[in-house]
């Protein structure tokens, strides 16, 4: 599994000027400053939204804080993916099946963002600003970067599955996990026509911890503030 050709590698500390991402990451990692979680003490009616997540479940009584953190972690990744495809589509450098991939997948990631925002209600983290370092400007770097992001997304959801306490959240996360895996296999097949990289590189997919994911995202320098 090769890394994407990212021109610049910056750490999260270097780019996170106002500390917003750090703060969000710490919340996500379970630090003690859980003020934004306490804020949303309203008990909202838990109806199942179109997209699968129960609406405003993060604010429902009995939903553990750790589940809220996992949802915000997922939302941060989905913001990043959605913005990446939106920028690639806007630049218009993609053709054929690659363009189709970017359009379809971009639509899915935007739908994931919306579903997670609805589930989180006022507990949702805000969308960061991104700098994709020119990776959306050519087909080659776009594809490699998309592969890295999608593989990371699969590992990220997988790594949280056994930590999710609320069954309805687990179900919805599973529905997204499978789709991220489909995206990853699809872009891998576009790159290598089934040879290298393999769309399914091993019999058991590797889970990533939250720290591994946040470190990998931090290293890309994609999150500006």
């Amino acid at each position: 599994m090769s890394e994407p050709a990212l021109h610049e590698v910056a750490t999260l500390e270097e780019v996170d000027r106002d500390g917003a991402i750090r703060e969000a990451a710490e919340e996500v990692r379970g630090d003690t400053r859980a003020a934004f979680l306490r804020k949303g003490g309203i008990v909202a009616g838990v109806g199942i939204g179109l997209a699968g997540f129960p609406a405003r479940i993060a604010m429902a009584q009995g939903t553990p804080k750790s589940d809220v953190k996992i949802l915000n972690f997922a939302l941060t990744l989905e913001y990043l993916e959605a913005a990446f495809y939106a920028e690639a589509n806007a630049k218009g450098k993609l053709d054929g099946v690659t363009a189709t991939f970017a359009q379809v997948v971009g639509g899915h990631e935007a739908a994931h963002v919306t579903a997670l925002q609805q589930a989180l209600g006022s507990a949702a983290v805000k969308k960061p600003t991104f700098d994709f370092k020119g990776t959306t400007g050519s087909e080659g770097t776009f594809l490699k970067t998309a592969m890295a992001l999608e593989d990371t997304g699969v590992g990220a959801y997988q790594g949280q599955a056994d930590k999710i306490k609320t069954t309805a959240i687990l179900g919805s996360a599973g529905a997204i996990l499978a789709v991220e895996a489909r995206h990853a296999a699809w872009v891998r097949d576009i790159i290598g026509a089934g040879h290298n990289p393999k769309p399914a590189p091993s019999a058991f997919n590797k889970a990533l911890t939250m720290k591994q994911v946040l470190d990998a995202v931090g290293e890309t320098g994609f999150i500006k503030s």
Binding site: L177, R182, A185, G194, H195, P199, A200, F204, A207
Partner: protein, 240 residues
């Protein structure tokens, strides 16, 4: 999104799977299956797979054992399907490569599930793939159906699994099935873009009854091997 699978429709003439499901339900209600294996085995993790003989360990709920055997039945089917397709020799190029790689994965899933279940593992059924492995186009459509179903099946059980180690293992297989499904869809879609490798933003899930009905509809499970504890006894009909 279950694709239209004309070649698979209307085969299950003998109702063998349903019969086996009913039998399993009776067996489960007696719980004899589970009292048998009282051995407490250390649940050491294999590389990337399931804890060895976990199902024989004390404290593993019956429901988890049933889910593992359900998964094993589906993996037996997938592994046998690819093996037969490769043996039939009709696949070329990337279709053949897909069958080899996916076949190896399914076989690894079978091995991991059997080890986890130990003596509680259901036996492998006999299969009859109804000629679907004999030509490339039918193979591809069938592989797509089987893989999509596998994704939906694992997804439908995640919320029902009680043992964290089993959930972790199942959730490491689930995305691999999704990768297979996207891969065979991508191969078929060369040029046309259809079927889409990722047809929806949220993958649908299926409960056990829906999956077993779909499997039964294929007629792929031919008959149980002779003797007690036969293969399709393990295809549970418990409500998902």
């Amino acid at each position: 999104m279950t694709p239209d699978i004309t070649p698979l429709a209307g085969f299950d003439k003998d109702g063998a799977l349903q019969e086996a499901s009913d039998h399993l339900e009776r067996t489960l209600s007696r719980a004899s299956l589970f009292r048998r294996g009282g051995l407490l085995v250390a649940g050491g993790l294999l590389a990337g797979s399931l804890p060895v003989a976990l199902a024989g360990a004390q404290g593993v709920p019956k429901g988890d054992v049933a889910i593992l055997n359900y998964a094993l039945t589906l993996e037996y089917l997938e592994a046998a399907f690819y093996k037969k397709a490769l043996a039939d020799g009709a696949l070329k190029g990337e279709y053949r490569r897909f069958a080899q790689v996916a076949g190896e994965h399914e076989q690894a899933h079978v091995g991991a599930l059997k080890k986890a279940l130990g003596s509680k593992a259901v036996k492998r059924p006999n299969f009859d793939f109804q000629g679907t492995t004999a030509d490339q186009a039918t193979f591809a459509k069938t592989a797509q159906t089987v893989e999509d179903l596998g994704v939906e099946a694992y997804q439908g059980q995640a919320g029902n699994i009680k043992t964290p180690a089993i959930l972790r293992a199942a959730i490491s297989i689930h995305p691999v099935e999704a990768r297979h499904a996207a891969w065979i869809r991508s191969i078929q879609g060369r040029g046309s873009g259809q079927p889409s490798p990722a047809p929806a933003a949220f993958n649908p899930a299926k409960d056990m009854n829906a999956v077993l009905a779909a499997v039964q509809g294929t007629g792929f499970i031919a008959m149980a091997e002779s003797g007690s504890g036969s293969a399709v006894d393990g295809a549970p009909s418990m409500a998902g």
